[in-house]
């Protein structure tokens, strides 16, 4: 039932993409409505299928359809708890995006291609989750990558967009190759391409490590782990906002899904805790670097893209902890770490797509990406501002919203490191937790800046004055995501209880108890207790009490304090760059900062300054230290190969002759 629903959802979504290609002027309205309706219906089917698979306690749903034209191969699909959970995430976000999309794309050119590739993209992602065979998996993976390449390159009139899309394609292909090798090795040892035969393979520790690291590289590239993240802040800002929401909120999770499938289902880690240590290390670095780079951005979508790097880092911290505890036979803590990571996947999908959709509404109204040009939009777009605030609070890991719960679970897992025998891990894991705390507060700083610059203060440019509230459908999808952010923050025990099935399948251990609907007590009541709902209600109660007692019955509206000099304008406000300046100075080693001040003298009196120009660039060290060496290495390699390629036929015949002789020598 669930699997049929899942395949049906893929079919419906794919069909919805085919419709716009038949757009003709006569039926344009009909087709676009039909397309939107089908996309919504398909997402709902995916959502329902995911829920059914999670609720199901019977064995997994699986299906094999023989493909007559490919004798070696059949379409093997399977829906277990893990893929069901990610199906749920994809379905939920796609549902919100599908509602948002029609009103957003009014102003976008070539919308039929956009709709087509969006549908292919979503169905590709869903097919990845359903695949029970390495071939199908990789096919769907490439479907997802290629369709998203076309989405990134949608506004290809601009040179920078084409470049960003090309970098994205390059990195996506590289990730695909590493996954291919990793799965190829698994297929070699198991003798089949079917995922069932991959499950819990017992390999030598060297081969396990090799496959694991190849998979980490491949999936990590797609997920955006540092230093493989550089495509992310380039690709996300140029794609249309709902697509960014899908890419950042969902596509990165598909990579996480692949990694979980590989490391928790296929490989048997045994006692190789170093692998978990590597994941923990990379996750911690990604979280910190991601948020630090985010703070320096002034393009709102670029900023959000760097935050994805941060959140993927947090997810990998949870996974790393889980792997470490699994390798040291602490099943309960391994489960807790995995659940924290899985929960953060859902949370990040929700608040990140909320933020991207909010940013999209602002961009649609003002045609402005630059934080330094925004301001005061809370008066023009009060509802969007409110939903965006909920997104900001959630991503900054503040109680009682959902981001806090998953980070809290990660902290709780990390704090159990005193149970480990290894002294190094016992000190490094709390250190990673401290860096996670630093990440949280840096994220809060970043979102104070973002929210302050976009919505608060005075308008910094003309388009801000003409902005209007987003249309109803766009607001509806934001309301949906914002209320999900609150819901999953208030009822964590409920959610975790359903995730337990995944832990049961992958680690072989399910948490015995989570407490009740009010209190979340993952380890024991003595160790810790958290109640999101309790805090929300009590805080609401006290705040309303304080408000009704003490709020002044009348205000007097005056102009703000200007030290008695007057002349406060929108230009005298603090800018985003100024806001982040102390952070930039304290953590300056993390960026490649180029700062220049240029004094332009007045023409009449050369000793007087007419204007001062200040330029600041904070670039990513990853380009300098990682990509440029690679690029120059590739260049040198291809140049040296080019010397062999003279273009003369006789030379190639000589090569063939030499090759044949060598082969003969080897054979005989």
């Amino acid at each position: 039932m669930a699997l049929r629903l899942a395949t049906l959802s893929i079919a419906i979504i794919f069909l919805s993409g085919l419709l716009p290609l038949c757009f003709s002027y006569a039926y344009q309205k009909l087709f676009s409505r039909l397309n939107a309706g089908l996309l919504i219906l398909g997402s709902l089917c995916a959502l329902a299928a995911g829920c059914l698979a999670l609720l199901n306690t019977a064995p997994d749903y699986s299906l094999t359809i023989p493909l007559s034209f490919l004798p070696m191969l059949s379409l093997q699909l399977k829906l277990d708890a893990l893929s069901g959970y990610f199906f749920f995430i994809v379905g939920l976000v796609s549902f919100a995006v599908a509602i948002y999309l029609p009103a957003y794309i009014q102003s976008i050119p070539h919308k039929k291609y956009l709709l087509f590739f969006t549908a292919v993209f979503i169905s590709g992602m869903l097919l990845v989750l359903l695949a029970n065979n390495a071939f199908i998996f990789l096919f769907a993976w490439e479907l997802m990558s290629l369709s998203s390449y076309f989405l990134v390159a949608h506004e290809h009139e601009h040179e920078t967009n084409r470049q960003a899309a090309f970098i994205y394609l390059l990195m996506a292909q590289m990730s695909g190759i590493f996954i291919l090798i990793s799965f190829g090795l698994l297929a070699k040892w198991s003798g089949s391409l079917n995922f069932n035969s991959f499950a819990h393979l017992h390999l030598s520790s060297a081969w396990t490590s090799v496959i694991f690291l190849l998979g980490l590289w491949g999936f990590g590239t797609k997920a955006g782990l540092v230093p493989l993240h550089a495509w992310l802040p380039k690709a996300h800002p140029v794609a249309p906002s709902p697509i960014s929401a899908l890419m950042s909120g969902v596509m990165l999770k598909i990579a996480v899904y692949g990694f979980i499938r590989l490391s928790f289902y296929f490989l048997t880690i045994g006692n190789l805790w170093t692998l978990g240590g590597v994941v923990l290390f990379i996750g911690t670095i990604s979280a910190l670097i991601g948020v630090l780079y985010a703070i320096m951005q002034h393009d709102v979508k670029c900023l959000l893209a760097y935050h994805s790097v941060e959140n993927i880092g947090i997810i990998f911290i949870g996974l790393g902890l889980s792997l470490i505890f699994q390798a040291t036979n602490h099943s309960l803590l391994a489960t807790l770490g995995l659940l924290a990571a899985l929960y953060h996947c859902l949370n990040h999908a929700l608040f990140k797509s909320l933020l991207f959709l909010g940013a999209g509404s602002v961009i649609q109204q003002t045609h402005e990406h630059d934080l330094e040009q925004m301001g005061g939009l809370i008066h023009k777009m009060p509802r969007t501002a409110f939903y965006f605030l909920i997104g900001c609070l959630s991503i900054s890991a503040l109680p009682p919203f959902n981001g806090f719960v998953s980070e809290w679970l990660t902290f709780q897992t990390a704090l159990q490191s005193s149970l480990l025998a290894n002294g190094l891990l016992r000190i490094l894991i709390p250190l990673a937790a401290a860096i996670l705390a630093l990440t949280g507060i840096l994220a809060a700083t970043c979102f104070v800046k973002t929210y302050g610059m976009i919505f608060l203060g005075k308008a910094r440019s003309v388009p801000m004055h003409t902005a209007h509230e987003a249309p109803l459908t766009m607001r509806f999808s934001m309301v949906l995501l914002a209320s999900c952010c609150l819901f999953f923050g208030l009822f964590p025990s409920f959610t975790l209880a359903h995730l337990n099935a995944i832990a049961k399948q992958s680690i072989g251990y399910a948490l015995p108890a989570f407490g009740n609907w009010l209190w979340l007590t993952p380890i024991s009541i003595q160790q810790t207790a958290y109640s999101g709902l309790g805090i929300f209600i009590v805080l609401l109660f006290i705040t309303s009490l304080v408000y009704f007692w003490w709020h002044p019955r009348q205000y007097k509206s005056v102009s703000p304090w200007d030290c008695g000099f007057g002349g406060l304008t929108e230009r005298t406000q603090y800018t985003g760059t100024a806001f982040a300046m102390p952070i930039r100075r304290i953590f300056q080693a993390f960026w490649k900062i180029t700062e220049a001040k240029e004094r332009r003298p007045s023409l009449r009196q050369p000793h007087q300054t007419q204007s001062v120009h200040y330029t600041l660039h904070t670039d990513d060290w990853a380009w300098e230290w990682f990509y440029k060496p690679w690029r120059s290495g590739m260049k040198i390699a291809s140049q040296s190969i080019a010397k062999w390629q003279s273009g003369h036929l006789r030379l190639y015949l000589t090569y063939m002759f030499i090759t044949l002789i060598i082969l003969l020598w080897l054979v005989s």
Partner: protein
């Protein structure tokens, strides 16, 4: 159980009610030490009463965030106060005692204060918000590590369980605790905006941190924010007194034990007020970019404390 809830409730009210008194006492002590004539201990109550009766003025294009923030900030501080062990360790049912949650709630209140500061669109607000978030960026990880060390010792992140654990095992002379205690004092100074990180009595806008953020507030709004800041100071000092100083709380609900606890806590608080005043009189406010050095030291001390705990156990 029921009586513990009632006592926790009373204790929370006591913290809220006595916070201005404590700040007034610090002010008085400071004046005495500096050979000035001191205002009354109750001056802070008079200030609050005056502010509550004054007209509230608001800048022209303030949004709902500016108006709403004072109530939220005050409520969050009250909520945190309900989790603090002053005389008894509070009941879980009334206080949300998880230490990570406490750090998170302080973060929530700081988030809204910084947003409110940015709402008006003056430079001072932006400057204050930027500096406050910077200081928090440095202080919060150190605070978390301090809490982590305590949590790992007591193997619980619940403040009430930690307090009970500390009253059973007197640990204040433990080297790990000593490091964490020194660091916690530095963090507390930074988080509550005292010298050498911030000067609560400054009248120069350019050197302000906390005061710059609330420059636009007046009347009842200002009263609530000031009161919340006073409660926050008392919370940090109480935490320091009851977690890191000798003679921890006696974990009994009898009247005699509570009387003894109360007496000891008052002595500790007076002592800490004296130490704070001494430090504030002797030290000058640090330049903003010297603050990271202080807080990095706190972070490293916490880390050393944690390391020591890990090694010795």
């Amino acid at each position: 159980m029921m009586s513990r809830i009632v006592y926790s409730f009373l204790q929370t009210s006591l913290i809220i009610a006595c916070a201005p008194l404590f700040v007034g006492f610090i002010k008085m002590l400071k004046c005495w030490l500096q050979n000035r004539s001191a205002p009354s201990v109750f001056q802070r109550y008079r200030d609050l009463r005056k502010l509550f009766h004054k007209q509230t003025i608001i800048a022209h294009h303030a949004s709902w965030i500016f108006r709403f923030a004072p109530y939220l900030i005050f409520s969050i501080t009250v909520l945190i106060a309900s989790a603090i062990p002053l005389i008894i360790s509070p009941s879980k049912t009334i206080g949300f005692t998880d230490v990570i949650l406490i750090a998170g709630l302080f973060g929530l209140s700081r988030f809204f204060l910084a947003l409110a500061a940015l709402d008006i669109g003056t430079s001072f607000g932006g400057m204050g918000a930027s500096r406050e978030m910077t200081v928090a960026t440095l202080a919060e990880p150190a605070l978390m590590i301090a809490f982590f060390s305590l949590a790992m010792m007591a193997s619980s992140t619940r403040l009430d369980v930690i307090t009970t654990y500390l009253s059973a095992h007197s640990l204040w002379f433990n080297p790990s605790m000593l490091f964490v205690a020194i660091a916690f004092a530095m963090i507390a100074v930074a988080e509550t905006g005292r010298i050498p990180v911030d000067n609560p009595a400054t009248h120069l806008e350019l050197t302000m941190i906390h005061e710059a953020m609330i420059l636009e507030y007046s009347g009842r709004h200002l009263a609530l924010i000031e009161w919340a800041a006073q409660i926050k100071l008392l919370i940090y000092i109480t935490l320091f007194a009851n977690l890191f100083l000798p003679f921890p709380l006696i974990n009994q609900l009898s009247l005699s034990a509570m009387g003894l606890n109360g007496g000891i806590v008052i002595m500790k608080l007076l002592l800490l007020a004296f130490v704070l005043v001494l430090a504030e009189t002797h030290l000058a406010k640090l330049r903003l970019f010297r603050v990271p050095l202080l807080l990095n030291m706190a972070f490293l001390l916490c880390l050393l404390g944690l390391l020591m705990h890990v090694i010795t156990n």
